[in-house]
Amino acid sequence: MKHTVKMSLGALLLASAGAAGCNDSLTGPGLTVSPNSPTSATTNQLFASIQVSNESQQEGGIARLASMFTQQLAGTGRQQQSYAQYSLTEADYSGYFSRIYSGGGLIDIRNVEAATKAASDSSYYGITLVLEALDIGMGASIWGDIPYSEAAGTAVTPKLDKQQDVYAVVQAKLDTAILFIGKTGGTNIGPGSVDLTYAGDRTKWTQAAYSLKARYYMHWVEGQLVGGAAGAASATACGGDCLVKTVAAAALGISSNANDWQTFHSTTSTEWNFWYQFIVVQRAGDLGASKTLVDTLKARRVANGDQRIRAYFDSVNVGGGVFDFRGADRNGSGTTPLSVLSAARLAQGFRQPIVTFAETQLLLAEAQARLGQNGPALVALNAAKAAQASKLGVAVPAAVALTGPALLTEIKAEEWIASFQNIEAYNDFKRNCYPRLTPALAATDVPGRVLYGSGERQTNPNIPSPANQPARNANDPKACSDVTHPTIVSN
């Protein structure tokens, strides 16, 4: 008995030693291959993510910053109040800078481009190029020089490309996009229903590409007017006269409200409008109406019955059952209660406009007005106003008998109002210096750009330290307080 026990125990010990004695138990599915994450994705799956990434970028922190810097909205609490007072560190916008490139950004745009090219789906390829143009064009409009030619490739520390060079490539991409989107038949299937913007509609994508072209030409008008080195940069970016090019592109741009590029949202909580999430769910009280825009819209309502204030904001009980619109001052303080975005714009499923018919018409109007074509400019301006009226469901009376500087000023005003909550509000402001804002606190100017994200700056030696970064971008050589700013002269 004793002997048997010893024998069997010995066998057990040897067996367990044997089991431990090889590396086979250390590899295989679930051990060295993750049971949790896929290692490959289809083109459609990547494309779906690209769209959502883009939406989060267009509707996220940079759009809030644009709204606050242009005093459409006021930062009334916590971080937003600091941002509205231009107190931003390089860490604050690090995530937004990364988003240009990381998963869902340029790296996956490139993946989709490669896959659609390999599948000879020119239409799909072209549409993806438009998304690339919006992603990169927005990045270059905010940060100026950005990594592009070496980005999302094999370079370990991609170099900075000049802002004008980035724009030139983006314009070329849009040209290619327009050429490819239209191709039909055979392998040109396109994204179809995976495309949350236009369901693969070739015409709408082509128009959107032209509208973006017009937008990016117009971004360089200030440089062109200032001339010198800035003029040379503008010529590079536009490949010619920026105003003429804007007119040509805008004419082929988005042709109706129905063709507007809007984000996709619904009442499903994973698909909620970002503004709703920010203002209602996450940061109630931090972002309210700005007195600057509220007062302007109130004055317009009195002057000509422009009712957009109702579409943008909700009135609040200011005491004794009297309802009125109230905005906070440029420093984020002021009266309580305060108007916030209207219920319509805060609806969970509200689809935020990104590139629109109205914007296209206003770009056309601005370019034409600057070229002295007053008649067509007024037509385009009123087309934009009519589009707004129809889209917002409120009265937006047409402008009448405006010419010269008055017409241009009204176009700028309309751009400021119509670009509500859009990043373009900031780009328009940098170019036009309209409205004549009093900067927050004691600042002399609204900042011309924000710092590169700390994530990029700390890892990429090509990015200058915060102290050595330019205050303004190449396309925006003059501050609004600078009396030689071309807009101020033309005012």
Binding site: K6, L196, T270, P466
Partner: protein
């Protein structure tokens, strides 16, 4: 209870009779009394005949008695040995004769240095104290129990040098983190490996959702019943831990549980009650009401009277209104009450010459200091530890514990539905009662005082803290079973084989639910978390002893280990409650992301060997090596070696030759070197795609899933695959001396160590423009070095009075030497403006952020551009380093360069223990010191912004000189505005209004550095007064051997300059490696304890 107890004692009495009934004719009885040199009886001494494996332990009176069955009585004398921890073992020869009684009283000399005692050194190896060449700290089970902590990790606080414990908070079930000799890792939590009776167990702390919010979560080692613990050995350094190879990178905690002893069956019943309260009240102002800066009449009563009114802007959400004329409310006291804890523990142990058993059961019911029923934790534990000697050479055993824990918790931290975030922001003029609107029965809160029927699912901005307490549901339930089966075989008298096959399973389910109208998710939300954690471990070791000659002997050991771990986590979120209750996923509208069902499997196997050489009874040399393979290592480094070598020289004999032995009674010098590892995380070899991911918005909450409109979205993970990864490796050298002085009346030791951790793994940040944000690499190099010292003195050792005083002291200097080109690496568990990071030239786990511009700092970038930089440079010329620049406005300016702004690491830590014994009365205390180690007081920063912090009451009334009368600067101030008197808050009648606290002077500005505080403390960690009642009455009438009555306190007093609740706090607890993050953390508590122990 009484009846219960009586019944129990009755049964115990019957059981206790059983062994004596067995003492049949023909057997021999051995009895006697064991006393110390002073004549004091020694309880718990083990008295046994080694050759027969037979014996017992003494009772409180020092008496022992055991029976040797006639069949075991051999002719000739046998050796009787008596041992007790802290005393020198003694052996005598006795002659056993059938039918007789041998009486032997033994006196054990003091042995405070524990010489000759066996110390467990891990993986089945052991050695004796004098041969030990590394620093291993032992903590006795009785000291664990005496700490009054239910969590074993908390119980180690102050017990050993360089073993730093940080409690998450005082809530029941809160985790405690442990850090041994500094942080050696960046991505890990820095928690050591826990091994119970030879089998590794899980001590993870799983966050409930976010580490910054959610609720407290237990560290899983808290499943161990402290009463089950015999001793804890802390293997601190790499040389000591090398036998555990790739899992010992952060040290090893070896826990040995209690066993039965042969002889009469013994019973211990301990009942303990304690009351807990918050150590310190929070300083909130009650003078100024809700409103804007100087905005007269902007009180809640006038600005938000209409139903459905929401106080929209933060300026009115703050308390910078005019002075209050009416009632104000105490928003601290309404949240806290006295907590209670009841514990009952029963253990039964005994056995005979072949079979030993130990059984225990315990229950602990803890109701915390937050008012209401939702701050509670219950733990039920059982343990069976039994062994049987099948033959003289073969023993098998099983040691298994099952634990059930159930808790309810209150949400905390950076969380608009957390307790203190809304609680402390509430203006003093708002009455949080009634919590629900009397008409609509909806949540009332200070920003939404008058809810309407339309506002049932509208965010309140911040929740009413009482709504958080009473109306949320956050539950934690776990089931844990762990233990092992062992076989010890001694086939030859020089060879032993031991196999330990162990397993550990824990299943935990948590539910975190917030009702409709909650601020964090106004339509209501239910989140379910499931954690399933299993571990199987087999350890086989063979040890051979050898003796070449009289002067050279030792052991050879060879072993192998196989380990499999699997963690499965499921996380399902249900958004939008259908009916108001119940809080079930099925009662929600949508199951949504983030939903995850991640699984992590890791297999390892290792071989290890150890050789010891005992030379001339004074030089003890050990060499060991372990070879580990792990599924987490990449193919090109699948197996890794972890060597160690150590030597101890006991020079006591030489001292006696030099006639120094009167002064130095014992001396040992030791030196050791070892290497240990830390496994990489699993699955880092390939670049992966993210499924079920989402795109967030810069930390502000808005997010959209990649799946939209029913269309699947996958995207490239920001983490680039790493096909070449190997374990982190720590190489440590330590040296020290241990000594006894004046006939061992004084003993102590000093240890120096230095370790270099190389190949430290972290997500090396990549430029996002590459398309990836990081890649896991073996890229860091960290150094930890320090000194540890212990000194114990026994000035009085008399029969009826003794006094022992002991101290321990340690330093650790942590330095990040390199991060492969990166200047710093972020670590999770902190905030954007004050984020945790490892910084080259600085520490691991320091917070980074922005400061105001200071002279002499590197790369200063004052806000305002080049003009300000020029003025700054001019002002700083010749100024002291660190001087604060004050611009013409009288205020400092933000320095846009982010830098390390906080050092969480203490300069030194120390503990001081005192023990007095007056006859049967024992008094002991433990003082715990930490010098240095900063804390980020984020709570204060936020409350400055909101104007509810007490400081803002005074500061708004008077002008100050920044840097002098406000925020005084040790290095002075410079600049055009230095010395200018300014108002931090505009005075009434001035326009435009200005409030420094709502700009850069508060917690929402860019400058976190201003809220970094000194976290030094001295704590009266433990105090205990115990009386042992063993009068004849106890024996005769109660049938007990002794009754211990103990009155104790835990954390009774904290001395600190920290202005928050307690410098010992950490928002994420043991969920991450950071310490010193305070953002609306729930407070620490102190306890008053009464304990009654019945022994038989």
């Amino acid at each position: 209870m009484n009846q219960h107890l009586r019944r129990l004692l009755f049964r115990s009495a019957i059981l206790a009779l059983a062994p004596s009934l067995l003492a049949a004719q023909g057997s021999a009885t051995v009895r006697g009394k064991i006393t110390s040199g002073t004549g004091a009886p020694l309880a718990e001494a083990s008295v046994f005949i080694p050759s027969l494996n037979l014996g017992t332990t003494t009772g409180q009176s020092g008496d022992y008695s055991f029976v040797v069955p006639s069949v075991r009585i051999a002719t000739g004398p046998v050796t009787l040995t008596a041992r007790r921890i802290g005393y020198a073992a003694k052996s005598v020869e006795i002659q056993l004769t059938p039918g007789t009684t041998v009486t032997r009283d033994l006196v054990l000399g003091d042995n405070p240095l524990r010489l000759g005692e066996v110390v467990i050194t891990g993986a089945g190896t052991a050695t004796e104290v004098e041969k030990l060449a590394t620093s291993i700290n032992s903590v006795k089970g009785e000291d664990i129990v005496r700490s009054n902590e239910t969590n074993i990790v908390n119980a180690l606080a102050g017990k050993a040098p360089n073993v730093a414990i940080t409690s998450q908070s005082g809530e029941p079930g809160a985790s405690a983190g442990i850090r041994i000799r500094g942080l050696k890792t960046i991505v890990g939590t820095g928690q050591p490996l826990f091994v119970v009776d030879g089998t590794p167990i899980d001590n993870s702390t799983n966050a409930t959702g976010s580490q910054l919010a959610g609720t407290v979560a237990p560290n899983r080692a808290s499943d161990i019943n402290p009463d089950d613990i015999e001793s804890v050995e802390i293997l601190k350094g790499a040389a000591a831990g090398a036998i555990y190879g790739a899992r010992a990178g952060q040290g090893v905690i070896l826990i040995t549980t209690k066993k039965g002893a042969p002889g009469a069956t013994r019973y211990t019943l301990r009942s303990q009650g304690s009351i807990d309260n918050v150590v310190k009240t929070y300083p909130l102002q009650r003078k100024y009401g809700q409103g804007n800066t100087n905005s007269a009449g902007a009180w809640i009563s006038t600005i938000c009277t209409t139903p459905g009114c929401f106080v929209g802007s933060t300026s009115a959400a703050s308390s910078y209104g005019p002075a209050l004329a009416g009632t104000s409310y105490d928003h601290y006291s309404e949240l806290f009450e006295t907590g209670k804890q009841l514990e009952n523990e029963l253990s039964i142990s005994g056995g005979n010459d072949r079979t030993l058993f130990f059984l225990s059961g315990s229950e602990s019911d803890n109701s915390g200091v937050i008012v209401g029923p939702n701050d509670a934790f219950h733990r039920y534990t059982t343990r069976v530890n039994a062994s049987h000697r099948i033959t003289d050479g073969l023993k098998v055993g099983a040691n298994v514990s099952y634990v059930d824990t159930r808790g309810n918790a209150v949400q905390k931290g950076s969380n608009t539905s957390g307790l203190l975030l809304g609680g402390f922001r509430t203006p003093p003029d708002f009455n949080n009662y009634p919590l629900l609107d009397p008409v609509t029965h909806q949540q009332r809160s200070f920003r939404y005082p008058n809810p309407t029927p339309l506002s049932a699912t509208t965010s309140r901005g911040y929740d009413n803290p009482l709504f958080v307490i009473f109306n949320q549901s956050n539950t934690l339930n776990s089931n844990r079973a762990f233990g092992n089966i062992t076989a010890d075989w001694t086939p030859l008298n020089w060879l032993t084989l031991k196999n330990t096959f162990g397993a550990d399973y824990s299943g935990e389910s948590r539910l975190q639910a917030i009702p409709k109208s909650s601020s964090t998710f106004p339509t209501g939300q239910v989140i379910s978390f499931q954690f399933n954690n299993t571990q199987v471990d087999d350890n086989l070791i063979g040890t051979a002893t050898y003796s070449l000659n009289r002067h050279v002997n030792g052991t050879f050991s060879l072993g192998t280990n196989f380990n499999m771990r699997r963690l499965q986590q499921e996380f399902v979120q249900g958004n939008t409650l259908l009916a108001d209750s119940p809080f079930k996923l099925t009662n929600t509208l949508q199951f949504v992301a983030p939903t995850s069902d991640a699984e992590v499997r890791v297999n390892t196997n290792g071989y290890f060997g150890q050789a010891t050489f005992d030379l001339f009874d004074q030089l003890y040399i050990t060499g060991a090596a372990r070879n580990d393979g792990s599924s987490t290592f990449s193919d090109n480094s699948r197996r890794n070696w972890f060597p160690s070598a150590r030597a101890a020289w006991t020079f006591t004999d030489h001292l006696s030759k030099l006639h120094l032995d009167r002064i130095v009674s014992f001396g040992k010098a030791r030196v050791a070197y070892g290497e240990v590892g830390q496994e990489p995380g699993a699955y880092q070899l390939l670049s992966l795609l993210v499924a079920g991911g989402s795109f967030g918005d810069g930390g502000f909450g808005p997010a959209a899933t990649a799946n939209q409109n029913g269309i699947a979205g996958l995207f490239t993970s920001g983490t680039k695959g790493q096909p070449f990864i190997k374990p982190e490796r720590t190489k440590e050298t330590e040296a020290g001396i241990d000594f006894g002085l004046f006939n061992s009346r004084v003993d102590g030791g000093v240890t120096w160590y230095q370790d270099y951790s190389t190949d430290v793994i972290f997500n090396v940040p990549l430029p996002p423009s590459t398309g990836y944000t990081s890649q896991v690499q073996n890229a860091g190099r960290i150094r930890n070095s320090g000194w540890e010292a212990t000194l114990n003195y026994r000035p009085i050792q008399r029969r009826n009075f003794s006094w022992e005083i002991g101290g321990q002291w340690s330093t650790n200097d942590n330095k990040v030497l390199s991060l492969r080109g990166t200047t710093n690496v972020a670590q999770g568990g902190s905030f954007a403006g004050a984020f945790g990071a490892a910084t080259v030239g600085g520490r691991v786990g320091g917070l980074r952020g922005n400061d105001f511009a200071r002279c002499g700092a590197v790369d200063v970038a004052p806000s305002g551009g080049t003009a300000v930089l020029a003025a700054f440079n001019a002002a700083c010329a010749g100024a002291a380093k660190g001087a604060l620049y004050i611009d013409a406005s009288g205020f400092p300016v933000v320095d846009n360069t982010e830098r390390q702004i906080m050092d969480a690491q203490p300069k030194y830590m120390a503990g001081l223990t005192n023990r007095f014994r007056f006859g049967k009365l024992q008094l002991s205390s433990l003082l715990d010191f930490k010098k240095g180690g900063q804390v980020w007081n984020g709570t204060k920063g936020a409350l400055y912004f909101f104007g509810t912090h007490f400081d803002t009451q005074d500061l708004r009334e008077h002008s100050v000189v920044y840097g002098k009368t406000y925020m005084p600067q040790p290095n002075g101030v410079v600049g055009p505005g230095a010395g200018t008197s300014v108002f931090l808050v505009s005075q009434p009648g001035t326009t435009p209004t200005f409030n420094w606290f709502q700009g850069q002077g508060g917690g929402f500005g860019s400058v976190s550095a201003q809220f970094i505080e000194d976290g030094s403390y001295a704590k009266l960690r433990e105090i205990s007064l115990q009386y042992t009642w063993d009068a004849a009455f106890v024996h005769r009438r109660l049938g007990l051997s002794a009754v211990d009555i103990r009155l104790a306190g835990r954390n009774l007093k904290t001395w600190s300059h920290y202005t928050g609740f307690d410098p010992e706090t950490n928002l994420g607890g043991a969920e991450n490696a950071l310490v010193g993050v305070d953002f609306f953390n729930n407070p620490q508590t102190r306890s008053f304890v009464l304990s009654l122990t019945l022994n038989r």
